[in-house]
Symmetry: C2
Subunit: 244 residues, 2 copies
């Protein structure tokens, strides 16, 4: 393997800033902790064959006639007429084993679309933190951790996961190429890491989701390493790169 001379490690806090980065030679880790990329990890850990991220409700409905299960979430809630929502628990149902899913969400699938020019897109969550970190180190490439945020604004939970990944992988990167956003994310993770759920209690997205009565989802999404998968895009379709 030819080693790139200067591997960089950076965090992009929202898809609204993705145009500032040259990602053509980078692995971009899309992060939507609450809850799209967490649910994607759970799905692959439970035997899903592939996930097609789609931007619109209409587009995902077209996949239904092709034999796909369809999942959709807008503003934190599941939509009528869909098989699946955005709760990680709905992706533990044995019916998903071996199936293909078309998925659209408020933030996560939009972030995947924003990263379309990346060398490789993968999905990150606390649920695949260790396996993903180990995989990233082996790629020997520039890494950009792309937080989905909330409707393009900064959010804390995605930043904390970015910080956790930085903490895991930074020693394998050229330190002088680590940028301020990566430093900030790691600092925030270091404050939060012993009680991430407690740290996030004052955060805005957390408050938004509180109204939806999904405390169980949140606790699950913040618990590391229950889904040892690396969901990655190949020709517009997400598969578990560890099983390809």
């Amino acid at each position: 393997m030819v080693s790139l001379q200067f591997k960089s490690l950076d965090v992009c806090f929202t898809p609204a800033m993705i145009h500032l980065y040259d990602i053509s030679e980078s692995v971009v880790v899309v992060i939507d902790v609450l809850r799209a990329t967490s649910s994607i990890c759970v799905a692959f850990a439970n035997g899903v064959k592939s996930i097609v991220p789609v931007a619109t409700i209409e587009e995902s409905q077209q996949y239904k006639s092709k034999g796909f299960l369809i999942g959709a979430e807008r503003n934190g809630e599941m939509l009528e007429g869909f098989d699946l929502g955005n709760s990680p628990f709905s992706y533990m149902d044995p019916i998903i084993d071996g199936r293909d899913i078309a998925l659209t969400t408020t933030n996560g699938t939009q972030a995947i679309a924003a990263a379309k020019n990346a060398y490789q897109i993968v999905a990150g969550s606390f649920l695949n933190l260790t396996v993903l970190s180990d995989w990233l180190v082996k790629q020997d490439r520039n890494v950009l951790l792309l937080c989905s945020g909330w409707k393009n604004s900064f959010n804390l939970e995605d930043t904390l996961l970015a910080g956790a990944i930085v903490s895991n992988v930074k020693d394998h990167f050229e330190f002088t190429k680590m940028r301020d956003a990566a430093l900030a994310a790691e600092h925030l993770y270091n404050i939060a890491k012993h009680d991430i759920n407690g740290f996030l209690e004052e955060s805005s997205h957390r408050k938004r989701l509180e109204k939806l009565n999904i405390e169980k989802d949140i606790v699950h999404c913040l618990t590391p390493d229950s889904a040892p998968v690396v969901p990655g895009m190949i020709n517009g379709v997400m598969v578990d790169l560890l099983r390809v």
Copy 2:
């Protein structure tokens, strides 16, 4: 004074995200700690009458013939043919007393331009931290702290000042309207506050400036409260709002 029902307090990490905020009723604090807004504060503390922020080198040169002193910085360095650069110490020269200045910088004056739709633009730095915080509380308006960043990317030093302002003023704002970016900035400030200079030693802009041999500038820019002024825009011209 009529009190707005819900005052919000938020931080925008870069001018590249300003379009996500409705700032028409907000006070926007433009922050470019190293060094534009620090130098602007020093200038007003040393008797400057007004500062016109201009976007281009060419535009600022046109002001010279109108009797203005002209200041310019690009990529951290002063430009030939200009009276002033971006070092706070050059704005302590007695020649600036009573004068008008046209100023263009890599990040700071671009951020001022990005905030042009604000109800009120003011300049923030560690040098006017306490006076500015007190002034903000009295305005009884939504406040957005706009970090200039480095060429539209996130930077740590501007975020720390944003966090310091959040820490000073947050008890006067509706807590439920404080967003994640403000929480993150305050957390980072709380880690850094006992040794801001040390905390920033690993930051990228700091490293960039190190090459320019301006350690003295940096230390000055990170020291609170030597310039008790509130530079604010009135009809395209910045003046000290405490002396209007």
